[in-house]
Symmetry: C2
Subunit: 132 residues, 2 copies
């Protein structure tokens, strides 16, 4: 269980019940929720929270570097509690998104791209998760 209040304070954000609910949903939830996923699950602990507050809070958290934001799914941005560099695998059947540790893959040849200043990059893979 993460201490949402502490985390918010460390980022210079006033903790409120609504913001605490949002932080807990993203950080303790599993996976890569959309804003709407967060809204629904935040309402379980804070039933009156509004859509605008969820969006505002998520954007605030992204701005402060507390969570990531990925545009890898059709229709809606997803938020990512993992702020370390990592790659992504998307299961085409289920839509589930999995993190792939950064050091599992090595991308060679970026230095050949003379015309581009690469500030960040990631590998995005699609396919099926094997059932073990």
């Amino acid at each position: 269980m993460t201490d949402a209040i502490l985390i918010l304070r460390q980022c210079g954000i006033q903790p409120t019940p609504q913001r605490i609910a949002v932080v807990e949903c993203v950080l303790n939830g599993n996976g890569h929720p959309t804003a709407d996923d967060v809204l629904i699950s935040a309402r379980k602990t804070c039933p009156t929270v509004s859509r605008a507050t969820v969006y505002n809070t998520l954007n605030l958290l992204v701005e402060k570097g507390l969570i990531g934001m990925q545009t890898i799914r059709e229709g809606a941005v997803v938020f990512d509690p993992n702020v370390e560099k990592h790659h992504h695998f998307i299961d085409d059947d289920t839509g589930d998104i999995y993190d792939i540790p950064w050091d599992q893959l090595d991308v060679k040849g970026k230095d050949k791209l003379k015309d581009f200043e690469i500030l960040e990059f990631q590998v995005i893979m699609r396919g099926r998760r094997k059932k073990r």
Copy 2:
């Protein structure tokens, strides 16, 4: 100038003025248009074309493998006349999307991902295009 009629026939799609306009906009246009970009530019040659037809046609073309579809920009899917495997670079300042040839980059380590069956992958880079 691509022969849109021929291309459509080869895919088993009835050529119509609307579909021809859509195909020409995507294939002859530069870059990675959104559906709305295509709608606007298709209306220059076929002023009555409707939004639904543009969406239907684009989805049809994707289904037939004539164009690609990428979810790399926030807010809207982009379509891609380049159906060869390739990577993408996104200019954070302008939002422009550039194709990076497949053989410029080499991704090592995919075979280590035992739990995933990778059907396709690409490297997505963000940053700034250098002015020469």
